[in-house]
């Protein structure tokens, strides 16, 4: 079960760190860093059901443009 209630101990610090992670990178490099981050976090979560739920929520409302 994916937790969508507030769980971050310091939300503003997290968001700042996330944006800082991309400082000085071009889009291609940023995409790579994001991908690595997703993989690291996915492994930390571990539970495939939770990951699938997160993926479904991430994609909800995004309509393929093709």
């Amino acid at each position: 079960m994916l937790n969508i209630e507030p769980n971050l101990s310091a939300p503003d610090d997290f968001y700042e760190a996330l944006i800082d992670m991309h400082r000085g990178l071009d889009d291609k490099q940023s995409a790579m860093v994001n991908a690595r981050l997703i993989l690291l976090l996915a492994n930390h979560v571990g539970d495939l059901d939770v990951l699938r739920e997160a993926m479904a929520r991430a994609r909800a409302d995004v309509v393929p443009s093709g």
């Binding site: 790579m32 690595r36 690291l40």
Partner: protein, 545 residues
């Protein structure tokens, strides 16, 4: 010097049917003398069913083609009497290494535990496997093989199939009870029946170069993503017998297949890979693409499809020929039981019920590997490269690296022939699993469990020496052989002895535990006690009654 199967010419004999006006009858005709057709023919013949094997050609496979033959295929060929010769001629291996750039990122061992007769894989040229199966088939009196005989028409009927065969001397017709189509990915039989196979074509091209060279490298599967000698592509290296090495280079969809197989294009790629100080000779090369496809149904009345005719996968898991050999072993005993009147014709539906999901599993693995090797979008490529980049220092990412998930025996988990467990069991030997091997003693000699299973139904009772049932059981006219596996040597005549405790462990056995194995060595039922009535019911279920 061993026989050079690559140049063997198979004899054409003018068939006597050309001089007859009636249509002769055969119980089974197998079309296609590749590894799958030869296996199904030999298996049928050993059960005692006469079989005619026809092939349009008079040569074995051209070039090395399939080279990786899996443990399960070797075990099937063991049961047919030719596993030892094939294993002995091949190069055994079990370790795979995956590199990104020039760094090792992942190592896998396909058979990390001892106590199996056969290795995880042997590498051997397809023509050599075919040649050895062909020689073995020659020694089976129930097989007749006809080469340079092309099936040109197939007329299915409710009670059989009429087949028209073209030879250099004219055409003739035969009538058979069952037709087994092992005629490859472009199956003419499939086309004659107006059937199709569907799936996904991958937009990528690969170069195979088989080279002869003397290299003192271990027999391992080595795979590179983006190596220095072949930037932006993948590459594969496999050892074959006779100092031949399989090299495989990813070329990309835009590569010109005609240009890329010219020696002047191939040689520099090989040179870059093997280094400047190695002499090599190009033996065979080919540029290929692949598709993951399967027919909706493998049984169409009295016509049964097996191997590439029924399903196709990428080569990066050695799941093509090996799954076809599993098809063959699955089908042969069922055809035999049906033809002998020991099972209803509906048993043949279970061939589809079991092998269609197995094909889906192979296609799923193959598609996932292909998506990793040939990312279909920028983001897919980004994630692939992210996995490879992390794999160097992050153990979790190594498990995501996919250069091919190699063929293992399919577990027929949802088969209607299985009797669901009534008792509690742990471990992998669930109903539907292919029997795991184990070292045993028999008549005080070292032996292997699998040598005692298959060819008939076997009820194997694990025992501690007391109250073991070693006598054969006759059930509805079907002979079931009762075997005993003792934990220690004692007086039970003809018993197998599990001196190392491996069989008990692999089968989660306790004294009294009884497994029922099908003629193709798959588990179909198991209990914590020896129960004749339960065995009878399970055999009836496994034979479609």
């Amino acid at each position: 010097m061993s026989i050079d199967y690559s140049s063997l010419v198979l004899p054409y004999v003018r068939p006597s049917e050309l001089d007859r006006h009636d249509v002769a009858h055969r119980p089974v005709i197998v079309v296609g003398a590749g590894p799958v057709g030869l296996t199904v023919a030999i298996d049928l013949a050993r059960y005692g069913t006469p079989v005619l094997l026809v092939d349009e050609d008079d040569k074995l496979a051209q070039g090395s083609r399939a080279i990786c033959f899996a443990k399960r295929s070797l075990e099937i060929w063991d049961r047919l009497g030719c596993g030892e010769a094939i294993t002995a001629r091949g190069v055994s291996w079990q370790v795979g290494k995956v590199y990104f750039g020039d760094g090792l990122v992942y190592r896998f061992d396909l058979l990390p535990e001892p106590g199996h007769h056969r290795p995880a894989f042997v590498n051997l040229q397809q023509y050599a496997v075919e040649g050895m199966l062909y020689e073995h088939a020659l020694s089976e009196p129930a097989i007749e093989m006809r080469f340079r005989q092309r099936v040109v028409a197939v007329e299915p009927r409710d009670d059989g199939v009429t087949v028209t065969i073209e030879t250099p001397d004219g055409t003739y017709r035969l009538y058979c009870d069952y037709l087994v189509a092992c005629d490859g990915s472009r199956s003419p039989v499939r086309a004659f029946l107006g059937l199709e196979t569907r799936g996904q074509v991958f937009r990528d091209r690969f170069l195979i170069a088989d080279v002869r060279m003397t290299r003192d490298l271990p027999a391992e599967r080595r795979f590179w993503f983006d190596p220095p000698f072949h930037p932006h592509g993948s590459a594969l290296m496999h050892r074959q017998p006779d100092n031949v090495w399989r090299l495989d280079f990813q070329l990309g969809w835009d590569a010109d297949p005609v240009v890329e197989r010219q020696p002047e294009r191939v040689m520099p790629r090989v040179r870059a890979m093997v280094g400047d100080d190695v002499d090599f000779e190009l033996v065979w090369c080919s540029v290929y693409t692949f598709a993951c496809t399967r027919m909706a149904h493998f049984r169409h009345g009295r016509v049964l499809f097996a191997g590439d005719a029924a399903h196709g996968v990428s080569p990066f898991g050695a799941r093509g020929a090996n799954s076809g050999v599993e098809d063959a072993a699955n089908l042969a005993w069922k055809l035999h039981y049906v033809l002998r009147g020991d099972a209803p014709a509906s048993l043949l539906d279970s061939y589809g019920c079991e092998r269609e999901p197995a094909a889906d599993e192979n296609i799923r693995h193959s598609t996932r590997s292909a998506d990793f090797l040939t990312p279909k979008s920028e983001m897919s490529r980004t994630f692939r490269d992210a996995v490879l980049g992390l794999a160097r220092n992050h153990p979790f990412a190594r498990r995501l690296v996919n250069s091919g998930r190699l063929s293992t025996a399919s577990t027929l988990a949802d088969s209607p022939l299985n009797t669901p467990d009534r008792d509690a069991f742990a471990g992998a030997m669930t109903p539907g699993a292919a029997a795991a091997d184990a070292p045993v003693a028999h008549d005080a000699r070292d032996d292997w469990l699998l040598r005692h299973l298959g060819g008939r139904f076997v009820a194997l009772q694990f025992a501690n020496g007391a109250d073991a049932h070693g006598e054969p059981i006759a059930l509805q006219g079907l002979r079931v052989e009762a075997l005993v596996m003792n934990a220690a040597a004692n007086a039970t005549a003809n018993a197998l002895v599990d001196r190392e405790g491996v069989a008990f462990a692999r089968y989660d056995a306790k004294p009294g535990t009884t497994y029922l194995f099908r003629p193709d060595q798959h588990v179909c039922a198991r209990w914590r006690s020896f129960d004749r009535h339960a065995i009878g019911a399970a055999v009836a279920r496994a034979t479609g009654h």
